[in-house]
Symmetry: C2
Amino acid sequence: MQLDNRKKEVLHAIVDDYVSTNEPVGSKSLIERHNFQVSSATLRNDMAELEHLGLIEKPHTSAGRIPSDKGYREYVNSLMTIDELSPREQLEIEKRIDTSVDEVTDLIKNATHTLSETTGFVSLAMSPRLKKSFLKQLKILMIEPGKALVVMVLSAGVVKDKVVRIPNFLSDEQIMKISGAVEKHLTGKPLDEITLVTVESAGKSTDVPEPLLKQVLYEAYAAIKQADELNIYLEGEHRMLSLPDFSSLGRARDLLGTLSDSGMVAGYVNEMENAAKEGGSDDSFMIRIGQEITLEGLDDCSFITATYNLTDSVSGNIGVIGPKRMLYSKVISQIDFVKKKLNKEMQRFT
Amino acid sequence: MQLDNRKKEVLHAIVDDYVSTNEPVGSKSLIERHNFQVSSATLRNDMAELEHLGLIEKPHTSAGRIPSDKGYREYVNSLMTIDELSPREQLEIEKRIDTSVDEVTDLIKNATHTLSETTGFVSLAMSPRLKKSFLKQLKILMIEPGKALVVMVLSAGVVKDKVVRIPNFLSDEQIMKISGAVEKHLTGKPLDEITLVTVESAGKSTDVPEPLLKQVLYEAYAAIKQADELNIYLEGEHRMLSLPDFSSLGRARDLLGTLSDSGMVAGYVNEMENAAKEGGSDDSFMIRIGQEITLEGLDDCSFITATYNLTDSVSGNIGVIGPKRMLYSKVISQIDFVKKKLNKEMQRFT
DNA sequence: TGTTGGCACTCGGAAGGTAAGAGTGCTAAT
DNA sequence: ATTAGCACTCTTACCTTCCGAGTGCCAACA
């Protein structure tokens, strides 16, 4: 995209003005508000050019221009500058995140909540991708005949457990034997390398009769697999209703309808993450604008996520879904700050 | 409320018509749609009377009448008849609730989801009130230096746990001692009878040095208290946006804003439950209509909940928040059916 | 070649005015 | 107690008009 400097400034100004006023911006008001040393007619020529390039568009013939998805994209990629949050703002966020929690999950939820409050948009976080973390402990505890609890401690400092059904007549002792054998064989293995076969071979060394053993091992395997399932935390959906961008009930309904299917959103975030990894983009933010988002009803939204790290190999995402008419630089620095705060606090757990 | 038969029929008809058409109903359309053996002028007189009694009201001078909160209340209390769901509908619900889950919590979530889908409204469920359930097992497991897991098995078939911090230099053995002592003293006690004092005295019999012991016991106590905290599950908030009753963005925003504070909703449900218990109402449904609801933004809603039972003494609530312009009898039978299904499936866990 | 002033043109939105329709309350008659 | 009739009210939809912001283009200019 080869734009001369003034055209860049014009696009920049249009985005800024439109974001702050929510009105299509015309050549005249552009002159009034910014210090362009040229006349409105000149800007009109520039704007016609920008429109030709698909960076801005007009809602109808006699209105000003608004940025197109492509225009926002250009703005985000090359035009905007991101500056740090002011100390005030930083303090505000630090005050909000409650870090006196005992589990990583709570910390993430807190961060998500804070992010939604500070941005005024929908925030979301994915639970850490635990596939790459390894098993530090695994215990099967007898709860009552027919019922046991599989407790797993993972390298990332996370504890997971699951109630499982076991054959009724297994004794406490037998369970302990199995538990010990499984733990011995699996400790140190990353979750994504543990398969049903691995688990079953781990149980071989016990003298528990075959079919019973097999059932317990299967349940243990299921518990392990459940441990690396991804959760998503979404917050502040209702805030979208306060934005003029969603003052049409139809849009709002489509948006919230889609967001209510959290599994679908989680899937999309995962796709984004994978695409970013493959694309080799070392940019720390993933940004999708408007129609770039393939989820239904998010045409007027932008999706911005960052990656937090629980350990070197275990990470997750945290970010925001807002109107595409947003203060990108501000929101990005807010996400960035929350992410950093999260990374720092997470060290306590690992 | 002494109403002659025809007036009752008129109110009944007005509610029915208004619920199904969402239009204020006038004397003429009332005649057309129902088999009143009198003229519209007579109905007009009756309606004037009903309005005088505060049971119906008109949005403006030249419109038909709509039921007031009091009118709905009369309808719900004395006018409507509740009939069972058709076999079709029953089947539909049974098909939807996935009962192949391992934990009570998942069952409740499933039921809530189903209820929202079948009614088309917001559904909600409270987790079981575990105060009255007693401790069957309590184990403190060492995870790593400074960190332990408190696992509790409750009489209601529920397993709860919490990661807690403990002094770094406590040994595995010491923790096991404490765990054993606490379990021995507390097993069989209902949760609401366990206090910090109880827990601390339970630890006396160990030979672990005082300040360390005290910290562990405190954490154990905190874990127990956390176990009986109430959770609320809310589903389908976005469905409200599809209802004509909330086609005004302002109303919709207020409603979803309030619902987003799940703690507040949970508190309200609890209040309702307590009020019902004190009132000695043996009615199995709690119904709040319009302004009867003290939560902000729910003026146009009705709140209907029923009580499910996990055990004799452990119960929770499940229900619906919908527009007050709803098919009460249908919704009530839907909730009733889901509740019964839930009660039945829960027996598996206890 | 890029910039500028000028001007005719377009279109959406606000304002105002009218007509239709549904429903009411009241009165007088049955 | 019930009914027919009628004047009155109020909302809604629809039309017309008008204003202003903004555009594109042209001819003149540096």
